[in-house]
C-alpha cells in the first residue's frame, strides 16, 4: 500500500484552483442560460397550439429520460458535423444549459400553472396582452414560487458539471486528472477535487438560502 502524500496537492494547488475557476464560470453561465431556456420551454409547453405543445413535451421527455453524458456526447460529436465547430467549454455550457433547462422547464411550468387565475384576470382586465401578462405578472411570481426547486437544480448542476471533463473541458475534474498524470497520485487529487467541490457546493447552498429568503412571496 502506497503511502498517501497530500503535500503534492498543496504543491499543485494552482492547477486545481484554475480548474475550479472554470467550473464556476461554466456553472454560472449554464445556470443563467438554463433559466432562459426554461422560460421558453415552459411557455411553449403550455401553448394553445397543439403541435407546439406536443413537440415541446416530447423534447422534454427525451431530454429528461436520457443521461447528461449521452447528451454531452451528442453535442460534442454532433455539432461539428452540422458545421458548428465550438470549443469544448462552449459545448459543455450548451449541454449543461439544455439538460438543466429541461429540468427547470418542468418545474417552472408547474409554477406557472400554479399562479391563481385571478392574477391572469386582473392583468387582462387592465388591457395587458397574454404575453405582457406572462412577462410582467405570471412568470415573475412563478419563478419566486419555484425558486427552492430551481435552487436544488442549480446544486445538481454544480455536481454534474464534472461530466464535461469527459468531453475535455478544462474544469476542476480534468485539472485533477492533469495533476495526476504528472504526479501519479490519483487518490490525493481526486479527494482534493472532491473537497473543493464540497466547499463550492456549501457556498452555493448558502447563497441560495439568502436568495430564497429575499424573494419568497409570503402570502
Amino acid at each position: 500500500m502506497q503511502g498517501l502524500e497530500f503535500s503534492v496537492v498543496f504543491e499543485n494547488m494552482n492547477i486545481l484552483l484554475q480548474g475550479m475557476f472554470w467550473t464556476v464560470v461554466l456553472c454560472s453561465s449554464a445556470s443563467l442560460l438554463s433559466i432562459v431556456v426554461a422560460v421558453v420551454l415552459a411557455m411553449t409547453g403550455i401553448s394553445k397550439l397543439k403541435p407546439v405543445r406536443s413537440a415541446t413535451l416530447f423534447f422534454l421527455w427525451v431530454f429528461r429520460g436520457t443521461p447528461l453524458l449521452l447528451q454531452l456526447f451528442l453535442f460534442y460529436f454532433g455539432l461539428p458535423q452540422v458545421g458548428l465547430y465550438l470549443s469544448p467549454i462552449i459545448t459543455g455550457i450548451i449541454g449543461l444549459t439544455l439538460h438543466f433547462g429541461v429540468y427547470n422547464a418542468d418545474v417552472l411550468r408547474a409554477g406557472i400553472l400554479g399562479v391563481e387565475t385571478g392574477q391572469h384576470e386582473a392583468s387582462r382586465s387592465l388591457g395587458l396582452s397574454y404575453f405582457q401578462t406572462m412577462r410582467k405578472v405570471i412568470i415573475p411570481q412563478a419563478l419566486r414560487n419555484v425558486s427552492p426547486a430551481v435552487g436544488n437544480n442549480l446544486i445538481a448542476l454544480l455536481k454534474e458539471s464534472s461530466l464535461v471533463s469527459i468531453i475535455t473541458v478544462p474544469e476542476l475534474t480534468l485539472s485533477a486528472q492533469r495533476a495526476i498524470s504528472e504526479t501519479f497520485r490519483p487518490f490525493e487529487f481526486y479527494f482534493a477535487a472532491g473537497a473543493l467541490y464540497y466547499v463550492v457546493n456549501w457556498g452555493l447552498e448558502f447563497i441560495l438560502q439568502r436568495v430564497e429568503a429575499r424573494t419568497a412571496l409570503t402570502r
Binding site: P67, L70, S162, T173, Y197
Partner: protein
C-alpha cells in the same frame, strides 16, 4: 440517417443495455441496504450514530458522483482497494445513491405524523414496537415516490461508470460514435434503450405506489 448502421449495431447496444440494468439494479440494492441503517442512525438520538450518518449524507450528496467513482477506482489501489471496473462502479454508485436514499427514507418516516407515534405510545407500545407496527408501514408508502426518483436518477447516473471502462450503454455509444462518426444515430439508439428502461421502471414504481395508497 443511416438505418442500416443502426440495425447492425443494435445487438451491441442491447447487450450494453443489459449491463446498464444489472449495474443499476446492484447499485440500487447496495444503496438501499446502506440507506435504511443510515436513516435510522440519522433519526437516532444517539450522537455516535447520528453524526457519522450526517457526515455520510453530507459528503456523498455534496460531491460529484464521478469524483467518488474515480476515488474508488483510480485511487483505491493506493489504499489497498483494487477493484475491477464493474465492482468499483457498483460500489461507487451504490454508496452515492445510498446517501440520497437515506434522506428519502428519513423524510418518509418524519412525514408520518407525530400523532401516530403519540397514539401508539399512549397505548403502551415501546418506541421500537411503535416504529415497527405503526410508523414504518405508513412510511413505506410515503417513501416509494422519493425512492423512485432516486432510482431513475441512478439509472441515468449509471452512465458515469462508462468513464471507468464499464461496457454499458454510454460507453457503447461513445465507442461506436468514435468508430462510425455517426453521433446522431448512436444517440438515438442509446437514448431509446434508456427511455425504455426508465419508462418501464417508472411504471413499476407507479404501480407499487398505487398498492400503498391509504386514505388520506
Amino acid at each position: 440517417m443511416d438505418y442500416e448502421l443502426i440495425l447492425r449495431v443494435t445487438p451491441f447496444f442491447a447487450k450494453a443495455a443489459w449491463t446498464t440494468v444489472v449495474v443499476s439494479f446492484l447499485s440500487f440494492a447496495l444503496g438501499l441496504s446502506i440507506a435504511f441503517p443510515a436513516a435510522f442512525c440519522r433519526l437516532s438520538q444517539n450522537r455516535f450514530l447520528q453524526i457519522p450518518s450526517r457526515v455520510y449524507v453530507s459528503v456523498f450528496r455534496g460531491t460529484p458522483c464521478l469524483i467518488q467513482l474515480f476515488v474508488i477506482y483510480f485511487g483505491g489501489p493506493q489504499i489497498g482497494i483494487q477493484l475491477e471496473p464493474f465492482m468499483a462502479g457498483v460500489l461507487g454508485l451504490g454508496i452515492n445513491i445510498g446517501s440520497y436514499m437515506t434522506e428519502s427514507i428519513r423524510g418518509a418516516i418524519l412525514a408520518v405524523s407525530r400523532g401516530q407515534t403519540e397514539a401508539s405510545r399512549s397505548l403502551g407500545l415501546s418506541k421500537f414496537q411503535a416504529m415497527r407496527k405503526v410508523v414504518l408501514p405508513q412510511a413505506a408508502g410515503l417513501m416509494i415516490s422519493p425512492l423512485g426518483v432516486n432510482t431513475i436518477a441512478l439509472i441515468k447516473g449509471s452512465s458515469l461508470v462508462s468513464a471507468i471502462s464499464v461496457l454499458e450503454l454510454a460507453y457503447t455509444a461513445h465507442r461506436f460514435t468514435n468508430s462510425t462518426y455517426r453521433p446522431f444515430e448512436m444517440f438515438i439508439l442509446a437514448s431509446t434503450f434508456y427511455l425504455v428502461i426508465i419508462t418501464l421502471t417508472s411504471k413499476a414504481i407507479r404501480n407499487l405506489n398505487g398498492r400503498f395508497a391509504y386514505e388520506k
